[in-house]
């Protein structure tokens, strides 16, 4: 009976730990190293430019947002951690878009317009959703898992990245690196 009781504790604990590890990612924080004026999808380097259409057919180009802090978020509708973090991203976007000019670009990977449109409308997400139908930008940015986020400052440098879902605190901590002038 005692053994069963401890199993009842241990098994949920293991499930919980697996969720923690599954939703965590390699946190390549911006170190205090100097900025490198070369283009690469790495922290302290210039973010590779791209041009895509969103699911409504509008052109979206990263370089058009120079001078504004940009969160580039690679995601997909089938991705559970993406589903979990999007409400937090929406809250942060609404909080900071007027005051700091925050731009969020949610690049959808290899899906169709109708799936993304329904997903976005059901969730009430209000940021731009460029569509990477061929996966070219996903490859350029070296994205190996979803979600993956890149935090780009006003000068175009990547100041932080996150592989895996973010909770509120994690998102706010990374956003503070790009929101200041």
């Amino acid at each position: 009976m005692k053994r069963n009781r401890w199993l009842i504790v241990v098994i949920p604990l293991l499930i919980f730990l697996s969720l923690v590890l599954a939703a965590c990612g390699d946190n390549a924080e911006a170190n205090s190293g100097k900025l490198v004026p070369e283009i690469a999808p790495r922290v302290n380097y210039l973010a590779p430019d791209f041009q895509l259409k969103d699911y409504q057919g509008n052109q979206v180009r990263l370089s058009n947002f120079k001078g504004k802090p940009v969160l580039i978020n690679f995601w997909a509708t089938w991705c559970p951690p993406c589903r979990a973090e999007m409400p937090e991203i929406e809250a942060a976007y609404r909080k900071y878009k007027e005051k700091y000019g925050l731009v969020v670009l949610g690049i959808d990977a290899r899906e169709d317009n109708s799936s993304v449109k329904k997903y976005v409308e059901d969730g009430g997400y209000s940021w731009d959703m460029p569509m990477d139908y061929e996966g070219t930008i996903v490859a350029n940015y070296g994205v190996a898992a979803f979600p993956t986020s890149f935090f780009v400052d006003r000068q175009g440098y990547i100041r932080a990245t996150q592989i895996g879902g973010m909770d509120k605190k994690g998102l706010e901590d990374r956003l503070t690196k790009i929101l200041q002038d």
Binding site: L19, T77, W78, P80, A84, P87, E88, G124, K168
Partner: protein
């Protein structure tokens, strides 16, 4: 077998709320266990108010599904000493609002919410002390009901005081305390996660967002969905803020969620009577709605 993405997203969100609020609940459980154990070994009348203050959340939130029967002999004694009068309902409510778990979890969200909680808790306690002596409210005072002993392993044993400092007893008490916060708390985290994942932001904004005058009035109704597990109801408050609720609506939620849970009201009705409980619920609801409305009107932003 693969879980559907939405179910997995739900589990991840529960995990997120657990990680945000869990440390505060852990600290609260540890603090309460340590202080109660210390009081228990040095009984004195001067510690009774502190004992009752710490006991208040346990009185309505003991889980029938606990894995660890807590050594709550001191809880049995505390309940038997409570006089059945509406005054104690208000005092208990005040203690709930400012219990260690409630304060620590409010602090996690925002210092402003912590200050508000302390203010309301003090107001409830003062109201409980003053109202029935100074104001002639025409409430039917509930006929004193015999105290129903809680089902626990402790109740079946002779009521000799346990030494909490004996090996194993303190650990059992601590695990029992943690179990009370978390076993029901997981349900509250689930409700918060369901709202976060499945309820579109526009719905929350349309009902409880900035500019919605009825937001602070209607949001307390959500408390009926919750289970009294002090501190974990903050997950739903956090979810509502994330989904666009105004500060005033969020504050009204913060003040009413620990007090107007369905199960909690039923328990209070059983102990204090229907009319005092209904009057209490109505006054709390109106008070929280007014405070929330004023906060929105003035334009205070908790910046959660």
């Amino acid at each position: 077998m693969r879980l559907p993405p939405d179910v997995l997203a739900l589990l991840i969100k529960i995990k997120d709320y657990f990680l945000v609020l869990g440390p505060a609940l852990l600290i609260a459980a540890s603090l309460k266990t340590a202080v109660l154990a210390a009081i228990h070994t040095r009984p004195s009348n001067r510690w009774k108010p502190l004992e009752k203050y710490l006991q208040a959340p346990s009185a309505i939130s003991s889980s029938p599904f606990t894995l660890f029967s807590p050594q709550w002999l001191w809880l049995e004694q505390a309940i038997s000493r409570l006089a059945i009068s509406p005054k104690n309902l208000w005092l208990e409510a005040g203690a709930l609002v400012v219990s260690p778990a409630a304060l620590l979890t409010a602090l996690v969200l925002s210092p402003l919410l912590l200050i508000l909680r302390i203010g309301v808790g003090v107001a409830l306690a003062l109201l409980g002390q003053a109202a029935w002596s100074n104001f002639r409210l025409t409430l039917a005072i509930a006929k004193p009901k015999p105290v129903v002993a809680r089902k626990s392993s402790a109740s079946s044993t002779p009521t000799t005081a346990l030494n909490p400092w004996q090996p194993g007893n303190l650990l059992k008490a601590w695990l029992g305390e943690l179990d009370q916060y978390l076993s029901w708390g997981l349900y509250n985290f689930l409700v918060a996660a369901l709202l976060t994942i499945f309820v579109p932001l526009r719905i929350i904004e349309n009902w409880f967002g900035p500019g919605q005058l009825l937001g602070p009035v209607l949001i307390p109704l959500l408390a009926l969905l919750l289970i009294p597990a002090t501190g974990s109801e903050m997950a739903l408050v956090l979810a509502l803020f994330t989904k666009g609720a105004s500060t005033g609506s969020g504050v009204a939620a913060l003040l009413t969620f620990p007090l107007l849970t369905g199960i909690g009201l039923v328990e209070w009705q059983r102990r204090y009577g229907l009319k005092p409980t209904l009057m209490f619920a109505l006054l709390i609801w109106i008070g929280a709605a007014v405070i929330g409305f004023l906060i929105d009107a003035v334009g205070i932003n908790a910046n959660v």
